[in-house]
Symmetry: C2
Subunit: 530 residues, 2 copies
């Protein structure tokens, strides 16, 4: 199209190994710290790069070739970071597994991915043994932490990371492949349907990282020490193992333990400035500090995401911790950052889940996919497009996008005049009654705020006259009771009369998915029939 005899700008493939290269050369003393009961473990980026790079050589010496998948089953730790860079730098694909899933779920993911190696972190060798027994594709187990425990007796050969490094480690050339090569694989563990693999490319991860570093986004600097309370198996730990060496920030990895006391100790021991994780984790921190009168003076910012956070908790975090809270919204399919409340916003400003930093765009449509005429102040179906957004799932041969290239998030959302996004439920959870839509989230928010309610879910129940009618499932707070009449009265005048569920079911324990979210699929299977 353009006259271009010779490329005037340098070739520079966008591959993630460059982040650790940069950290090692320009911030070699910035550290990755892993919490451990017998004393925290720390390594500088310069040394970590040497180890990860030698580990690449060791992995290749096992017969792995670029494009092969290597699975990790581990909490956040230095050795887990080393496996990431060792795999990705050599063109292998790092498939992160969630230890909170069942063996059957994990085995299905491993088999679909065709993982040839399984790297296992502390405390998870027992699971790994079962997985190796169930998955013939696994040829090799690598124990990341400590010696080979007697408990592991699967058929696959077992080696220990340090032994592998000393026996087979060798310096290896990183990168030098197409930037659209696969770097990572992460299966969504949604509340419905079979898990789907999201495959990240080097390019998508690189662009996601640089995007997240903008001053109104994660805004990390060489002066920061970042507590990563979001697991590395959740969508790249929100990209932090890439972002931190890219700017020379230190990382604090809590391992498995994320209770309030442990996190407070870690924050104070290492002068953490930025803490990242789901709201529940910080609620635990607040409760611990309140109970003990403790403080975390180094903490400047908390970045939350993964689920919406009540305004009262936001304000409590900001006032108790003296830290700025940035809300965010993301998805595994978005690498994961979608929106984030700008760092430069006034504290206490309305923010919802924030705005999209450059590199991703949002679109609201009606149920038929037609863009809403005014994209502001009216709820719609949320679609996204961007440099690090999935086009299709791992192994699929077809695009998951609509004709205009938008990815349907399955979420309902609203955008205000300032561009702030607020999520408003899942579109598949909408209930169609008499040809009109009922949004269960609006009912759940009202009922969920009652002190006698622990958890509430509203689902559609097949109805011969109306098509569907809402049915409410509640888990009362411990020792509490509430009558149907009071529940319905709480809704009266706040939602349309015909939205109010006729039937209410009480359960002792709400069924939860592995992510901690209410499993509506199971509720629909049990209570959704006519």
């Amino acid at each position: 199209m353009t006259t271009r005899v010779f490329s005037p700008m340098q070739d520079y493939a966008l591959t993630v190994d460059r982040f650790l290269d940069h950290g090692a050369k320009w911030h070699g003393q910035a550290r990755v710290i892993t919490a451990a009961e017998d004393g925290d473990q720390a390594v500088g980026y310069a040394d970590l790069r040497v180890r990860a790079n030698r580990l690449s050589g060791a992995l290749l010496s096992l017969g792995l070739t670029p494009g092969d998948r290597i699975a990790t089953l581990a909490w956040n730790s230095q050795h887990h970071v080393e496996v990431w860079y060792a795999a990705m730098g050599a063109g292998l694909v790092c498939h992160t597994l969630n230890p909170r899933l069942t063996i059957a779920h994990l085995a299905a993911m491993i088999t679909e991915a065709g993982d040839r190696v399984l790297a296992v972190g502390a405390g998870l060798a027992g699971m790994a043994e079962k997985l190796a027994a169930s998955c013939p594709c696994i040829e090799q187990l690598i124990l990341l932490d400590g010696d080979r425990p007697a408990a592991v007796r699967g058929d696959a050969p077992i080696t220990v990371l340090e032994t592998l490094l000393s026996d087979r480690g060798r310096a290896t050339t990183w990168g030098q492949f197409d930037e659209r090569s696969l770097a990572g694989l992460c299966f969504t563990s949604g509340t419905t349907g079979a898990p789907k693999g999201v495959a990240y490319t080097h390019r998508s991860n690189y662009l996601h990282t640089i995007r997240s570093l903008q001053a109104d986004a994660m805004a990390l600097t060489a002066a920061d020490t970042i507590l990563v309370a979001v697991p590395m198996f959740h969508a790249n730990a929100w990209g932090l193992p890439f972002a931190a060496p890219a700017v020379g920030a230190s990382l604090v990895l809590p391992g498995r333990v994320t209770d309030g006391r442990s996190l407070a100790d870690l924050i104070n021991r290492h002068g953490v400035t930025v803490a990242v994780g789901v709201p529940t984790v910080w609620l635990g921190l607040l409760d611990h500090l309140d109970a003990t009168g403790g403080e975390t003076p180094s903490l400047e910012r908390i970045i939350i995401g993964g689920s919406s956070c009540p305004d009262t908790l936001l304000r409590r975090m900001e006032s108790r911790l003296g830290a700025t809270v940035q809300t965010s919204w993301g998805m595994t399919e978005l690498s994961p950052l979608g929106t984030i409340s700008p760092r430069s916003s006034e504290t206490g400003a309305a923010r919802g889940a924030g705005r999209p930093p450059m590199g991703l765009d949002l679109l609201l449509t009606d149920a038929a996919g037609t863009p809403l005429p005014d994209q502001r102040n009216a709820p719609g179906h949320l679609k996204v497009r961007g440099q690090s957004v999935a086009q299709g799932y791992f192994g699929a041969s077809e695009s998951a996008l609509d004709a205009d290239g938008w990815f349907d998030t399955g979420d309902l959302a609203i955008i205000d005049d300032a561009g702030n996004l607020t999520l408003a439920g899942r579109s598949k959870d909408l209930i169609k009654s008499g040809g009109e839509w009922i949004n269960p989230v609006e009912i759940e928010e009202i009922v969920g705020a009652l002190p006698s309610i622990s958890l509430v879910a509203v689902i559609g129940r097949a109805d011969p006259k109306w098509g569907e009618r809402p049915l409410m499932v509640i888990e009362p707070a411990q020792g509490q009771e509430i009558e149907d009449k009071a529940l319905k009265a709480s809704l009266k005048g706040r939602v349309a009369d015909w939205w109010i569920p006729e039937r209410i079911v009480r359960v002792v324990a709400m069924p939860l998915a592995a992510t901690g979210k209410i499993n509506k699929t199971q509720l629909r299977a049990t209570y959704g029939g006519a």
Copy 2:
């Protein structure tokens, strides 16, 4: 190399039109303000995008096709920004011209670029007339500001921007081409040799922008209002017309006028938070504030570059303005940002020209090109590699890189333990005397600090015995005199005895290049012979 049946991540070409698209959709009310004597002119990004996009259609209707070059001869203004986006969004190449160069220089550049259109800003119609007369390739003149002045009488048809927009403007699809297509062209106006064209691609500009937005780099946010005192014809105005809409920051464009009083007024009138430009400009601002007792309370940061800045001026800026100063180093060939002192550094910390943000790497070598064993605390020849670094010049068929892919900056530099770069002169200015090197910068710094000296330059003079000997040219401060003996005494004990120039020449006015730097080429032509 990797198994890749289907790209799992969305295609998302890195093209610069996306920056204005993002600004228009998410920060439509953030503004581009142009200073004018009869009242500043302001436009929001939403409206600016509509105008620039319609202008694309008008340009294409003139018969231009993607890849064609369009030249701009203009100071910083809204209309200049509109032409940038109109050209680049439609796949045309925007060639910025420096109005401070001679007609002969500019005509040579226009001819080499084959510019088909010349867009001319306020006050420059007279130059444009001469250029059109000298350059047959120019088919069309566009007057950006005001009506058609009687002064323009060249052969090329002339139109006025607003007329073009109203007669031929139409909505146009932006982007949709290869991200490695050319976006811009800028000739270096160095102090030696023929000007060389640096051609920017959409990809290199996009990556440069996102790189500059890192929180330890330019760190711009939606809360910022940026005074762009660096001209748009100097290497993309350091990328600010891309970076500002990408984050929703407002731009303040001063037009031609950058004296201290005008800048102080602009800063206060529009609440400027970040000011960007060469040190000289801010010296003018300081002098004005000192003379008038004025203040600029909104100003938080100043980002300087283009030439090194004495520590005394740095400290004066920080204390008088109450603003953080970030130093930087760049080159036209680097798009232009090379290094910048981190925003998170302590105020007053040693910084030199700062560190390279992720996306660019530095290498120090000896004169033969061999990397220095320790890259720290020893001077070397500076080479760079990165995502937005030139590979070769416009029209060239060969790479300008060494065998390992490094671009030689022609600079001498030193890097300290913290990674801070300090420039130490141009390698071509080194003087080889008796087989050993003399660095003229070290001599110039000592003599230049004497109160009786306005400007000083040391060049090599051919010498039958030693090969070269240093010769010193001085421009004394107004009304001052200094004897050779005193000059030589100032060097005694601070440089090696054999570095001290035997011959000293006094000039009334030092010859300067268009950039304001001392023209050593001319000095060598005049005084360098045996």
